[in-house]
Symmetry: C2
Subunit: 471 residues, 2 copies
């Protein structure tokens, strides 16, 4: 197989992740998100389908732009309630052997020193199958609720994130040398103290003088995910991310994005083919075209108009509650809405607010692909061939059915065509994805923090030099 | 059975928790702490032995008082490396049906808003079997490493803790009313918005205006553990704790402590019999007295002198590295050492530094009980009868052997005597322990935060009154 299509499952530790209202569908089990069995069963399904991983999104906060209140978010369980994603890593690891486990965590809510320990622990527990989805943004309500414990609001979020990952690299890559832990019962040495280093980090936002708390985990730094689509988000992804998650309404939008991001990765001195890009999609399929279309019609009847616009308003910052369902977007004199709708729709259609709600009501901001296994497989292959994307980040309409349908129908069809992997590669998640060993490659910025004593000398020299300039 | 003896396993997500050097014993498996199988196997053993729970201690930081460095802590893996305890809750829950899971978390390192979500998530995942061991103290090195993200150093730790638990009660008890979540597919209502409340918390240390992120977990507030022995620690435990963990060298010290704490609990308006007190102990046993004694001698030969004094120095703040092993404590002119040794030894012996290291080298600061099942059972029953303690918090010398020996030898002997439970009670951890329902009782301070709208009115009225006083 030259270059297989890659699948990732997009989920969240909540009810009806991006399909507001579909929790009421009799087949939907997302309300069982509190049960570990639910997650373990889903993980086994995805591993049977040779998915690269399951990616657990997260928000801390809630959607309150629509009609200026939280009413509809709560009413439709629109990502509220929401449980901690990190605690899903161990149970998913226990239920599977290969599946990657992507956990979202923000650089805004926890200190990097304690977060480094959480992340390393998850990597230990999963024997190296964890990815970290780095997010910087947060809902206004989240920032308010973590009050003084949170970061200052006026901080540049990506500037904080850059220093945050630097602290993590120092702790996870630099603090504990290879071979530090020997567990030598004869000589009664567990760890060689001279091979464990204080990181002496003194930055603009964080000060961490000491040692990392954890011994090196299988991947040291887990696989780095990123989903930022803004300018600084793209720059951050090009510098750090190994898996990038995007949402694009059309092939032409996607193609331009992929070309741009690969060029930026190359400009950062990294191999642009060793960063995987997954585009958001929702797939509704069945044995036949007709059955798939009927399934789609059935699903659509459960979409919550208010729930859908709750998300859209939260994501765009535009309160769609001020319009009637029949209002046509072209006739609304707000540039922001035009640009938002253009982004999601690819600009080739005029939309009513109701159509907008229907569109976003299944699987969020990605295209919804409905049809027979053959037709869907044609489309997926076409998207990959035409856009240079590596694969798909698959949202569900109804869970676990959406994923089970894909594993039952799409995966075998693509495998038959030689376009999808039939088994996992051995090793850690990073090895399964890229095949070059468990650690970040030498071209990655993390490599610069491995010889921490050299970093400390460099930083010690840099400080007086800067002072001289200022004097 | 009138009043059974209760067992709790004392552990930590690290190597050789309180038995420095015993990691080198060929039977010790604590170096496998990174593996979930290790924890699941241990949990199954404890459940077979009808232990109330497993209590995962934690430190963020490391021991650097001994000889003024971290050398020996690192060399002997003395609670460094150490992994995140919270991520053990789900795997232990998956391996067991009844065992309580006590997770330690500090009120100093994470904001209560995000911590409330973590705790509720663990309670959901375990179907209500989680306890939270509330700690306020931390190692100096931990405070330094969480830099500006941590709380201000000069804050009164128990004052912060009191407000921290208040925020948790408001979020976990008050924000989501009973019956808020209905998941009514017919009416398309997941949650009644009018039954979910903003908590509007505005305190000295935290400001949390909004909603809790999680729907009510089986216990709402998990079972509250506390282990503070200082004056403010005792007051906090008397007000809030449901399980209290103590360390006492002699029956007379323990008896006085238990009487004092029960009196304080009663004074706080709570039922002193519905708070369980577990005292630290290490048990070394085998089929016969002789085998047990030989096992003890074997274990002792692995104690690390430096590792043991690393802990003792860290706990007491006294650098024992300044003395020779043969120095006799009585001859050292430092009151602090006398008082520390008196505390751990009960004041009835004169100690050399080497004896001190030996004493603390197995199981930390609790007594070590060595003998046949009959002899140990006699001692345990005598301690309970003479001191009014509810049970024992059992540290290991070598793990899992120390626990397996107890389950194989002590538990059946005590059961034969009708002094130990033979099965678990049904329900959540709180119901298994106290039998009165899954939630904190009405006499607990958490009850005052259940009607959150009343709390908000009360607080709104209180503020002007206070202002008037100040004016």
């Amino acid at each position: 197989m030259a270059r297989p299509i890659r699948f990732n499952a997009f989920d969240m530790n909540c009810v009806g992740h991006q399909s507001p209202g579909l929790w009421a569908h009799p087949r939907d089990k997302s309300w069982k998100y509190k049960d570990l069995d639910y997650w373990q069963d889903l993980a086994r399904t995805l591993e049977r389908g040779v998915f690269d991983g399951i990616f657990i999104a997260d928000v801390i906060g809630y959607y309150d732009v629509y009609k200026g209140s939280n009413y509809h978010a709560i009413h439709q369980a629109a990502q509220l309630p929401v449980n901690d994603p990190m605690q899903l890593a161990a149970p998913i690891a226990l239920a599977t052997e290969h599946l990657g486990i992507g956990i979202t965590a923000s650089t805004s809510f926890e200190h990097p020193y304690t977060f480094a320990r959480r992340l390393a622990t998850a990597d230990h527990h999963s024997k190296g199958r964890v990815g970290w989805n780095i997010v910087t943004s947060y809902l206004e309500s989240g920032a308010k609720n973590v009050g003084q414990g949170g970061l200052r609001r006026h901080d540049n979020r990506y500037e904080v994130a850059a220093e945050y990952v630097e602290v993590l690299y120092k702790l996870l890559e630099g603090s504990w040398e290879e071979g530090a832990v020997v567990r030598d019962g004869e000589k009664r040495i567990f760890t060689h103290p001279e091979k464990v280093h204080e990181i002496a980090h003194k930055g603009k936002f964080f000060e961490v003088p000491g040692y990392g708390l954890t011994e090196p985990s299988p991947q040291r730094t887990p696989v780095l995910y990123q989903a930022g689509a803004s300018g600084p988000g793209k720059a951050f992804a090009a510098a750090h991310a190994e898996c990038i998650f995007v949402a694009a309404p059309t092939k032409s939008v996607l193609k331009a994005y992929v070309a741009d991001i690969r060029q930026r990765i190359a400009a950062a001195g990294r191999d642009p083919k060793k960063v995987f890009i997954y585009t958001l999609i929702t797939i509704i399929t069945d044995e036949t075209e007709d059955k798939a279309q009927k399934k789609f019609e059935d699903y659509k009847s459960y979409v919550s108009y208010d729930g859908s616009l709750t998300f859209m308003s939260g994501w765009s910052g535009i309160d769609f509650g001020q319009f009637a369902p029949t209002d046509v977007v072209e006739r609304i004199e707000t540039n922001a809405i035009h640009s938002f709708v253009e982004h999601i729709a690819g600009g080739d259609k005029s939309w009513t607010i109701d159509e907008l709600a229907q569109f976003g009501g299944i699987g969020g901001m990605g295209p919804v692909c409905v049809g027979s296994p053959e037709r869907i497989s044609d489309i997926l292959q076409e998207w990959v061939a035409d856009t240079d994307v590596d694969g798909f980040n698959i949202a569900y309409a109804v869970t676990p059915d959406s994923f089970e349908d894909i594993v039952a129908h799409i995966v075998p069809e693509l495998q038959k065509r030689g376009a999808y992997p039939t088994e996992y590669k051995p090793g850690t998640l990073r090895e399964k994805l890229f095949g070059d060993g468990p650690y970040l490659p030498k071209t990655h910025p993390a490599d610069g923090y491995r010889d921490i004593e050299a970093v400390k000398r460099r930083e010690a020299e840099a400080v007086p030099a800067l002072k001289t300039v200022g004097a």
